[in-house]
Amino acid sequence: MVLPSVLQPLAGGQSVLTAPADGPVSVGKLLDAVTSDFAVLARRLRDETGALRRFVNVYVGGDEVRRLQGLETEVAPGQEVLVIQSVAGG
């Protein structure tokens, strides 16, 4: 999972977080795995109900997951997932 630079300090300075997987996993499970050691990062991406924050976009295979199956969208082993903040604010 590739993080935007603004979130990297919350992941110990890492730009890419990985998690072991034997097969496809959902975006939600991937988020659980890669943020398990980074609780503040987890809260920046999802609220306490588990929902993705409104202006956090997660891309799998070039598509934003809200246009796929949301947090149930499957990620294949080795596949890159991008976290990108949407254009918002003023």
């Binding site: 503040v40 920046r44 306490e48 929902a51 903040q85 918002a88």
Partner: protein, 368 residues
């Protein structure tokens, strides 16, 4: 002089739409600033806790992208901390998610460590560890009126919390819902809005549903509080069982701010805006109004304020300190902050051209 008590100094915290600025001063005239802290996050709430011999600044932080959180600093903003799991976190069974912290209220000196928070969605929280972890007040969260509370323009939130120094009586104001009172430390809550108008509802005098913008307690008179309503300025002398208008003598009864003196009976400040539909200072002339007789008469205070000002002052963008004489501070949506070291008799612009000012808090601290 050697051997004298540590000199007083002052801290001023300014929460804006795009970050926090902090300032310190030894005389409330010249201020030394740091910031922005939390650049590009809004800071809608600040609490300065000077109990237990330390100065802890707590801030509600909200990023459009990354959501809300609460952070605190014990070194005047040099470093900030936030609990890993978040200071304010809705329990899973509520199915709710925190949107914004609207109020951070350190409790009385007698209850060190106790800090209250008001939030959106409408909720009240209490911390007993100095604001690091808060617990949801279930009495208000499970209140049967909840489904009928509404949202004001800024969102549906509990924005005012006033705790009696003895601890058992707590008043909360919410938009929209009005004033609720607990006589048992927050276990149970009853609406207390009799006399406060809700002109925007079919019944203008409902039991609840008012859009009370801010409440504050008279520090010297038990059971006396003041309210700035969505049109209407009120006082209660019976612990909010009934409210009476004290708007006569003001140029307008709309506004967001209500401040009270830290010690003196009958002294309160408001900053009127023309009307709901015209949210600017009356005639474009910014002024603070102070009463020294519990609202019987009002004095217009504008010495040092600019001529021609069309920005409003939001409900938490104003504060008093506890010095003698009390300092009065406020900021505008145009990014100017004004300070008075003489209870409003004269103001000085201490900073200008900041982003919209959402919250101002000031406190007396020990040492420079």
């Amino acid at each position: 002089m050697v051997g004298m008590a540590t000199a007083e100094s002052f801290v001023l915290a300014i929460g804006t739409k795009k970050g926090l600025w902090l300032a310190t001063s030894s005389d409330r005239q010249q201020w030394s600033f740091t910031g922005p802290h939390f650049l590009m996050s809004e800071i809608p709430s600040i609490g300065i806790d000077t109990r237990e011999g330390r100065t802890r600044i707590m801030v509600g932080v909200r990023s459009e992208h990354w959501g809300p959180t609460v952070a605190h600093s014990d070194d005047l903003g040099a470093t900030w901390s936030e609990p890993e799991q978040g200071a304010v976190r809705f329990p899973e069974d509520t199915g709710a998610a925190l949107e914004r912290i609207w109020q951070i209220y350190p409790d009385a000196e007698e209850r060190p460590g106790v800090v209250w928070a008001g939030a959106e969605p409408i909720s009240v929280w209490k911390s007993t560890d100095g604001g690091e972890h808060f617990e949801l007040n279930r009495g208000l969260w499970d209140h049967p009126h909840r489904s009928e509370w509404g949202a004001g323009y800024g969102g549906a939130a509990a924005h005012s919390i006033v705790v009696h120094p003895a601890g058992e009586t707590v008043h909360v104001a919410m938009s929209t819902g009005g004033v609720y009172r607990s006589l048992d430390g927050g276990t149970s809550w009853e609406p207390r809005n009799r006399g406060i108008s809700a002109y925007f509802m079919p019944d203008p005098n409902p039991e609840f549903g008012q859009c009370v913008h801010k409440i504050a307690a008279d520090a010297a008179v038990d059971g006396r509080l003041y309210a700035q309503n969505h049109h209407g300025v009120y006082r209660t002398d019976d612990n909010a069982d009934s409210w009476n208008s004290i708007a006569e003598g003001l140029p307008a009864d709309f506004g967001f701010v209500m401040l009270t003196h830290p010690r003196r009976e009958g002294t309160a400040w408001v900053i009127p805006l023309k009307a709901d539909g015209e949210r600017i200072p009356p005639d474009g002339e910014l002024a603070v109004h102070r009463t020294d007789d519990a609202g019987s008469t009002w004095k217009r205070l504008s010495n040092g304020l600019p001529a021609g000002e069309y920005n409003s002052v939001l409900r938490d963008a104003a504060s008093v300190d506890t010095a003698e004489p009390a300092g009065v501070y406020f900021g505008t949506r145009g990014g100017s902050v004004y300070a008075s070291a003489d209870e409003g008799a004269t103001f000085r612009e201490v900073v200008s051209h900041l982003p919209d000012v959402l919250c101002v808090r000031a406190a007396v601290i020990s040492g420079a």
